[in-house]
């Protein structure tokens, strides 16, 4: 085995010590060595170490909102029944149409919100960190930073819900870019920050 091969093998073993096995945490919010994941700009030999998205609990706001909205037709029917309000000229077919149209809008909103959570992903690969920032009907941006250039990784868990459910923001500052790279509301932020910092150090080091 040549010295270069030995160094590569050593680096690989250190990375496998850092991220030992394939696992999924916090309902798929974090996946280590994600299964069946490919991205278009993936370089040959580039390995995806972590896939992360916002903690699942961040969806609770729109879920409650949609649940409350879905009760509006029921409340309206009860109201009409209770007070005996008569809209005699409105046929049953029109009422069915309006109610179904309303629930259709709620379904569209549900799909949009789910997609917005599911496709807004962060990837940590052997070469870079990527953020696929997706906003349904609006924009789709891809941000990336070289993992070698990471200089500072900051973690912030602020607020009641993040402290309770264990999620927080990770802010990564790179040497090349003046902008910061945000990982918003990721699960297990302490572990995440540690892994990014260690990976960056490991990949940057020529002599592991």
């Amino acid at each position: 085995m040549t010295p270069t091969q030995t160094k590569a093998a050593r680096k690989k073993s250190l990375i496998s010590r850092l991220l030992p096995k394939r696992e999924s945490k916090a309902f798929g919010s974090i996946e280590v060595y994600p299964r069946a994941l490919r991205f278009r700009t993936q370089n040959p030999g580039e390995k995806v170490y972590i896939l992360a998205r916002a903690h699942i609990i961040t969806n609770i706001g729109w879920i409650i909102r949609l649940l409350l909205l879905s009760m509006i037709p029921i409340v309206a029917f009860l109201f009409v029944d209770y007070f005996g309000v008569d809209f005699g000229f409105v046929t049953d077919e029109i009422v069915v149409l309006l109610v179904l149209g309303f629930y259709l809008s709620l379904t569209a909103s549900l799909i949009m919100n789910l997609m917005s959570w599911y496709y807004d992903i962060y990837l940590v690969t052997s070469e870079r960190i990527l953020h696929y920032a997706y906003q349904p009907l609006a924009s789709y941006k891809v941000l990336e930073a070289e993992i070698e250039n990471i200089q500072e990784v900051t973690q912030a868990t602020v607020g009641f819900a993040p402290s309770l459910f264990g999620y927080g923001d990770i802010i990564v500052r790179t040497a090349a870019s003046r902008n910061k790279f945000y990982f918003r509301a990721v699960s297990r932020p302490v572990w995440f920050r540690d892994v990014i910092a260690d990976l960056s150090r490991l990949i940057r080091t020529k002599e592991p």
Binding site: I94, L97, A108, M112
Partner: protein, 72 residues
């Protein structure tokens, strides 16, 4: 304008509003379908096809509803 004419006009407006809601949702569904196809090409994630399926079902239901709205 008599009361009956007013009721007819109101009914027409309500029906038109229903139609607009459904057409709007169909538009949203089509844009989401386009986006999900694009995203699945850019980054292949595990359950990408589930979203595709969900949007297709949504579009089928929307088109049935549109037919219903036109029929009544």
């Amino acid at each position: 304008m008599s009361n009956e004419d007013l009721e007819k006009l109101l009914l027409l407006l309500i029906k038109l509003a229903g139609l607009i809601i459904i057409v709007f949702n169909a538009g949203v569904g089509l844009i989401l379908l386009r986006q999900v196809i694009t995203i699945n090409n850019v980054v292949k994630v595990k359950s990408g096809f589930l979203f595709l399926l969900m949007i297709l079902i949504f579009l089928v239901v929307t088109s049935f509803l549109l037919l219903y709205a036109i029929a009544i």
